[in-house]
Amino acid sequence: MFVTKDRKLSTGSLIILIASTLLGVGILTGPRSITAAVDGFGGWIAVLLTGLLFILIAYAAAYLINMFPGENIILFGPAIVTKPINNTICFLYLLYFIISTALYSRNVADVMKLYVLDTTPTTVIIGSFLLVSTYTAVQGINVLIRLNMLLFPIIFGMLGIILVLNAGGEFNFTEARPFFVGDFLTYLNGMKSSLDIFIGIGIIYFLSVFLRTPEKTGYALSTGIIIVTLINMIIIVISLGVFNFASVQNIVYPTVELAKDIQLPGAFLERTESLFMTIWVLAIFNVVSVTQYTVSLGISQLFNRKRKLWVVWPLPIYFLIALAPRNIDEFFYWRSILSYVGFSFLLAIPLVYILIAKIRKVA
């Protein structure tokens, strides 16, 4: 039939894909961890600097992808670093994706238990979430993209409403100041804990097979990064202004508290944080389903298997990893370690591959 074929991704849809894959990660925990790391008011500067750094990385990644348009790391890798090495790297990278995705679904369960479903077992929350995201990931990249496009305005709009209402209401400008404090080292500290907002862009190494305009990858990636950077910066500044430095450091999920704070005169609903929770579930859902898809794509290419089945088979692995951290501290510890792992993959792949490709003159 004539319109049913899977179409390649346009630049616009890549932007949305990247933005919605990154958005869910940082908005909930970012304000606390980054503020705690810089130990001051300059959290937004740390995010900005990290964003800029990732734009550079994005362009490096785009450069690598552009050397082999229409292929992804599994296809062009063997030509650069022999097949065994490349396959090992890809496999480890996919393993990293599996673990980080599983932890996101764990995060959903933790937050849900904390705010909304206090008596529901964690296993049920994680299990139902993973089942739904698997169903979506099975449908393929086009459905995923369209779902992202559909959910993005909802997430974006809801966040916007929360931020605007807070900025207009409880926001106290003096609490958010001074903007520029601390030396470079504290910002570096902050950047370290804002890494995990952006490391999701690594999916591009695998999804680059679907790009309709590979030459615009750098632009698309950086636009997505800029959107996410701005949103995260605004959230940090506003949560500092609404609460204050000391409380932000101690509230586990300051953004939820922001949502809790809203009180509209004559509003039908009170305590909108459970409404915000649901929106955030959508955002995390984007991350998890897209990564699950990427993993299945990678596995199917590496081992020459049917993709749809390989979304489903690793499901127990996701589930067990998600249950592994014993408490929230352990969870955050795992995530900080993973953010370094992911960052090293993200950074090393373009640098090493481009270098070797130049030396061996592969293109």
């Binding site: 139902s128 369209r146 959910l151 039908f268 579930v281």
Partner: protein, 526 residues
């Protein structure tokens, strides 16, 4: 043993192939008419299993010694037509002169044909199969002694209902005629509403045993070739004894049998079919049912009604917004109520939460059971109302709705809020113009209720994602089901949630990729 089975299988397959080839070939192998009149009548009678509704009347032509026989099936013909237009002229007309009597063969038959003043088609044939086929649709066959050719006379008169207002899709404003069971009349209704030479009607016969006509109707200058071919291909794969209703075709050709959503639109309204044809879509009409099928279809079109276009655009848009809202209420309202009362009491303002709690005081069931109880009652009432004769149906609705609801509240089994919620849901469901979509949403309502009771608002969000994923992956004849929402087609938003003024709707919906995109070419305002 296995080899034996395989051998049998192969034989069966070969037989099937043979049969197919025979059917595809124009001539079947039952033979031809004979010169012997009695043998002919016997052969035909035997072929029809000597059924009791075969009428055989022998007579002599024009008072001459030439024997003739007419045969017809009693139930399918118009007796007056036979008396006035076949028997009267052939029995009573002036006898033929000697000269023409001597002429056998073609000239003689021609003469007889000229004597029969019927307004239908007259046909000569010598194939027995053709004779049988024509007898079965109500024609009369005239056999003459010593002639190898019989004459088929059109005397068909099938009992049929008149054109009436469609029951399922009644409108306040708009054409009142609806399709009937009669194939020809239905095609006529479409032709009279669309006098275009490019209107194409391609009829075939379906149903191995019942031989029902199926027409694929489209506008050659609008409908996309690929979709037409796809429809024809899918129809050609149908191998079934009988097609009692177009619902059979719908189920046999739809894209996803597992989906709860209708992927084919069915309608009783010719105006709806014509509007669809003008959008470059394809209609399928089956003999013996007033329901025409329209493919491809998108979800939004199932929520639209022709009235949106017949009324002024403010009214149309308002009604549409109302209908989209009702879709959401029909699916999500009971679930929202259950998740709010059993998980997120905090979400409600204090006063409201208190009044909710007050209403629920003394109710022995959790709100999920309460909701399920009322919903099931409602479904039962609705089904009872449909099954019962019309006047009784309404009574059941009133008795059931008011009496049971009131009694349940007084007895303390359900709280009044629940009754309001269920009633709201039911009313919203009635608003949806497409019956099949309304039923799908009724089913979904129970699913989302289940999600809500297990996981509260979080479960509802999961259900929402599942629903969206399903809708996004669903296609109707290669057209995305969820357009224009996603994939986003900007132009089609003019006729989506709002119905813009007709002057603004310059183009046909882009979703269906019509060959000729422009509908109003005189004023290009944008």
């Amino acid at each position: 043993m296995r080899r034996l089975v395989k051998g049998i299988e192969r034989k069966v397959l070969e037989n099937k192939k043979d049969n197919l080839e025979k059917e595809n070939g124009s001539q079947k192998v039952r033979g031809y008419l004979d010169r012997d009149l009695i043998r002919n009548t016997d052969t035909i009678k035997a072929a029809l299993q000597d059924s009791s509704d075969i009428v055989t009347r022998s007579f002599t032509l024009f008072d001459s010694p030439v024997q003739a026989v007419i045969m017809y099936l009693d139930a399918l013909v118009d007796p007056e037509e036979i008396r006035d237009h076949i028997l009267t002229p052939l029995l009573l007309e002036a006898p033929l002169d000697e000269k023409s009597m001597g002429n056998e063969g073609k000239d003689f038959l021609k003469l007889i044909k000229n004597k029969i003043p019927t307004n239908g088609r007259l046909e000569g044939t010598s194939s027995i199969d053709k004779v049988l086929e024509q007898l079965l649709i109500g024609k009369t066959i005239l056999l003459i002694q010593e002639s190898k050719e019989g004459i088929i006379i059109d005397t068909t008169s099938i009992a049929a209902r008149n054109i009436e207002e469609p029951i399922q899709e009644s409108l306040i404003r708009g054409p009142r005629d609806g399709f009937t069971e009669e194939f020809k009349k239905n095609l006529g209704l479409i032709r009279t509403k669309m006098k275009s030479p490019s209107l194409t009607i391609k009829a075939t016969e379906k149903g191995e045993r019942t031989k029902k006509k199926v027409a694929v109707i489209y506008d050659e200058s609008l409908a996309r070739r690929e979709i037409v071919e796809e429809v024809q291909y899918r129809l050609s794969t149908i191998q079934i004894d009988d097609l009692p209703d177009s619902g059979f075709i719908e189920q046999l050709i739809e894209d996803n049998t597992l989906s709860v959503f209708p992927q084919v639109q069915s309608t009783e309204r010719p105006d709806k079919v014509v509007a669809a044809l003008l959008e470059g879509r394809i209609a399928i009409i089956l003999e013996g049912t007033p329901f025409a099928l329209i493919v491809p279809v998108t979800l939004s079109q199932l929520v639209h009604s022709p009235e949106d276009y017949y009324e002024r655009w403010y009214i149309g848009s308002f009604l549409r917004v109302l209908r989209y809202l009702s879709v959401f209420i029909a699916v999500f309202l009971p679930a929202t109520y259950v998740s709010l009362t059993s998980y997120h009491q905090g979400l409600l303002p204090t006063d409201l939460a208190l009044s909710f709690a007050g209403a629920r005081e003394g109710i022995p069931f959790p709100s999920f059971i309460e909701a399920l109880l009322m919903e099931v009652t409602l479904e039962l009432l609705r089904e009872a109302g449909v099954r019962l004769p019309k006047p009784l149906g309404q009574t059941v609705g009133i008795i059931g709705g008011i009496v049971i609801g009131e009694a349940a509240v007084t007895a303390g089994i359900v709280n009044p809020l629940m009754v309001i919620v269920v009633a709201m849901t039911a009313v919203s469901n009635f608003v949806i113009p497409s019956y099949s979509l309304a039923i799908s949403l009724r089913i979904l309502r129970f699913v989302v209720l289940l999600f809500a009771v297990v996981l509260g608002m979080y479960g509802m969000i999961l259900f929402f994602i599942l629903l969206m994923t399903h809708l996004l992956s669903l296609k109707s004849f290669g057209i995305h089901y969820f357009t224009p929402f996603s994939p986003f087609t900007k132009y089609d938003w003019r006729d989506f949630i709002l119905r813009m003024p007709i002057q603004v709707l310059i183009r046909r919906p882009m979703v269906f990729h019509p060959k000729d995109k422009v509908k109003l070419s005189n004023k290009e305002t944008d």
